[in-house]
């Protein structure tokens, strides 16, 4: 039961707080009644300003994107009734636009590659480096340094490897016209090439996250497993991995979100075209390029939003659930 007085005095977020407290145990009520009215105002401002900023600059634009997706607005002048096209953008996306399903497929490939290849490699490195070996710190630094590079730089560094006159083809001796492998140009190969470059960065990130988790594992568990005669592999699979369940979930979700946010590398390499189409690059190329197909681009943005909300909600319910108690 919300306290009417609190509602009258203090703004919403705090008043609800007071309400919750009022219905809580006596001891708590006593504790919070120490808050002066000024304290409540201060608390409100503490939360209110960042909340307002987030609503104005993230959630309102999100809502606007949803609304724009029902128009054919091109960004010039006002939006009139003539601009409203209903579900036409979505219909064209699903049935007429040749690049949409490939983009969905590429996002999916990105996801699967990260989940089944890059993240496990990161976990593997973490397990190796978790032991007391000489130079563990040094190896960690090497594997981790790509994470601190700007993706603009990462993209360029890998272009130098993949170009037809770049390192990989030259080292393989594939320089003649007929056998050269066109890593970034071949539309059925380039997504894999980019995934390798992206993994170069992702592996280090996952490794660090996992290492931190491993450090918190009770060492007696491992000893117990060793005494039971389990091999290192067995002890990892049977003992450590299950204990790490919370962080495993975090890693899966981080990986999923990273895959949906994939943009920079593909955009730097060829603007996300010719086999590197992703939902994010389709949005950018259609709506903030010279093309300015804002309505159409927004409909792709809504698709991406809906897909993204699935892991975000899963993540939050998981992490917040454990955080709140």
């Amino acid at each position: 039961m919300p306290d009417p007085q609190a509602i009258g005095l203090a703004p919403a977020s705090v008043s609800t707080g007071a309400g919750a407290i009022a219905s809580g145990p006596r001891k708590r009520k006593h504790r919070y009644s120490i808050l002066t009215r000024r304290d409540k105002v201060v608390l409100f401002l503490m939360v209110g300003i960042p909340t307002a900023l987030t609503i104005i600059f993230i959630w309102l634009p999100t809502l606007a994107s949803i609304l724009l997706s029902f128009t054919n607005y091109q960004g010039i002048g006002g939006i009139t009734a003539a601009n409203i096209v209903g579900l036409k953008n979505y219909q064209f996306l699903a049935t007429g636009y040749v690049l949409f399903w490939p983009a969905v497929a590429h996002n999916l490939m990105w996801l699967l590659f990260f989940v089944f290849i890059a993240s496990p490699i990161g976990i593997f490195f973490a397990v190796l480096l978790d032991r007391e070996i000489r130079g563990s710190r040094f190896y960690q630094n090497i594997f981790y340094f790509p994470v601190v590079l700007s993706l603009a730089v990462v993209g360029f560094i890998w272009e130098l490897q993949y170009a037809p006159d770049g390192f990989i083809d030259s080292a393989l001796g594939l320089t003649s016209q007929n056998n050269a492998i066109d890593w970034l140009g071949n539309p059925s190969l380039n997504i894999w090439a980019v995934l390798v470059a992206a993994s170069w960065r992702h592996v280090g990130y996952i490794m660090v996250l996992y290492l931190a988790g491993l450090k918190s594992v009770d060492p007696t568990l491992r000893e117990a497993a060793a005494i039971d005669g389990a091999s290192e592999f067995q002890s990892f699979v049977r003992v450590i991995f299950p204990v790490m369940a919370p962080i495993n979930i975090v890693i899966v979700v981080v990986t999923v979100i990273e895959s949906l946010r994939a943009f920079d590398l593909a955009f730097i390499i060829n603007q996300g075209t010719n086999g590197l189409e992703l939902l994010s690059t389709l949005i950018t190329n259609n709506s903030i390029s010279e093309a300015s197909l804002i309505g159409f681009g927004s409909s792709i943005a809504v698709v991406l939003l809906v897909i993204s909300l699935v892991p975000i909600v899963l993540y939050l319910s998981r992490v917040m659930g454990s955080a709140s108690e």
């Binding site: 054919n72 607005y73 091109q74 960004g75 010039i76 002048g77 601009n83 036409k88 064209f92 007429g96 636009y97 040749v98 690049l99 993949y162 170009a163 037809p164 006159d165 016209q177 007929n178 050269a180 066109d182 890593w183 970034l184 140009g185 071949n186 539309p187 380039n190 060829n270 603007q271 996300g272 075209t273 010719n274 189409e277 690059t281 389709l282 190329n285 259609n286 903030i288 390029s289 010279e290 093309a291 300015s292 197909l293 309505g295 159409f296």
Partner: protein, 478 residues
Amino acid sequence: MANQDTTRRETLSMTGLRSVSRRDVLKGMAVVAGAAAVPTILAACSSGATTAPASVAPPASVVPPASVAPASAAGVTGTVTVGSNHSDASEVKGMTAINAAFIAANPGVTVTMNPVDHNTFQNQIGAYLQGTPEDDFTWFSGYRMRFFASKGLTTAIDDVWAKVSSNFTGAFATAVTADDGKVYGIPVDYYPWAVFYRKSVFSDKGYTIPATWADFKTLCTKMQTDGLIPITFGDKDGWPAMGTFDILDLRLNGYDFHTQLLTGKQKWTDAKVTTVFQKWAEIMPFHDKTYAGLTWEKACDTLIQKKSGMFMFGLFLTGEFSSTGTPADLADLDFFPFPAMGTQYDAENALDAPIDIWMVSAKSPTLQADLDAAKAYMEFWSKGSTQLLMFQNQPGFIPTANDADSSSYDPLTKKAVQIVSQAKKITQFLDRDSRPDFAGANGMQAFLQKFLANPTQDTTALQAEIQAYWEALPPATV
């Protein structure tokens, strides 16, 4: 020099719609009369300039333009803000010299320059013009100019054009006139697309310039047996392939069909488009196999290294040739027009020769205050002497003004002027002649890449997809 310019003027005006008015001629005379009227102003130039580019310009480059500045342009004061896609080091040098010359001719005027890299500038143009653009900005002629003019995002400059039109041929006048009949830009440079090659390679191997499609393919086969990549090609950025599409469509189906196709008056499902793809497929095996991952610069490098024989491209590839540090490389470069395809349209000698222009924005917050200076700046760009300052730093972009002193042109540029003058029909380039939302990275560029990935495919489905994309676009406003 005069000869060539006259030829160009005459033949270019064959494609032009409007003739030069009497008023224009008079204004043109005023320009000539005003020459050499204000050279002494130069001495005062350092005081008024507040922007860095102006103050660091070497005085030497300032002298020639100042000496031809017309009396009418002198005396403009205030500020002009300038947005440009000239961000390469050599272009910045040219801009700096031009701004210094402008200030020298107009003491007390301030030029504030905002160079943005070419791709970014282009991608953001719509947003830029609706936001807080500079007073004057660089852009392209053709549909792309008319598009923004029709949206009211640029300012008509008929008054400026009236003063300077005599310095341009009719074709240029057409190129800067929008659908409302008003003039929106000053043409400042152009560059033809043709087939480039190294003279030494052709003479060493005994190749001759192919005049017909059959000759062209025979030459390609011969080059292949000689271990050369017959045609180098780099389509990583998506737009270079459009150059080949344009020339094939122009040769096979003619200027009228091509321009109608790009503006939606013909359908992409037309059998004529199928023919273009079929002919293209015939020469695709002669192209660099790694084209899709190559930028045009990398593709050009194989021509420089004599690993490839020919390159269908724009004249600005001279920039890459110059960067080897060996002047002999550039001297060895030559080109020929794309071969005849045996149709009635061969006689059009049509080609892509995109024109770059300067425009005045509409939403610049400072435009009201700066209007005089902004227009004076446009007028300044219409002079051959101004355009030459850029040309000296950016050869490969030929000045448009009649009074540009072409005696300084190298043989290649002179030949380029000639090939354009012989063309009865001139197009701007696919992405300048069509809707920007159609020609973009996830539009026509992607469709062409899809074709190139498998050139021998039955293109019926692809053509239907292109047509469907066109039809799904919001209603055109131009």
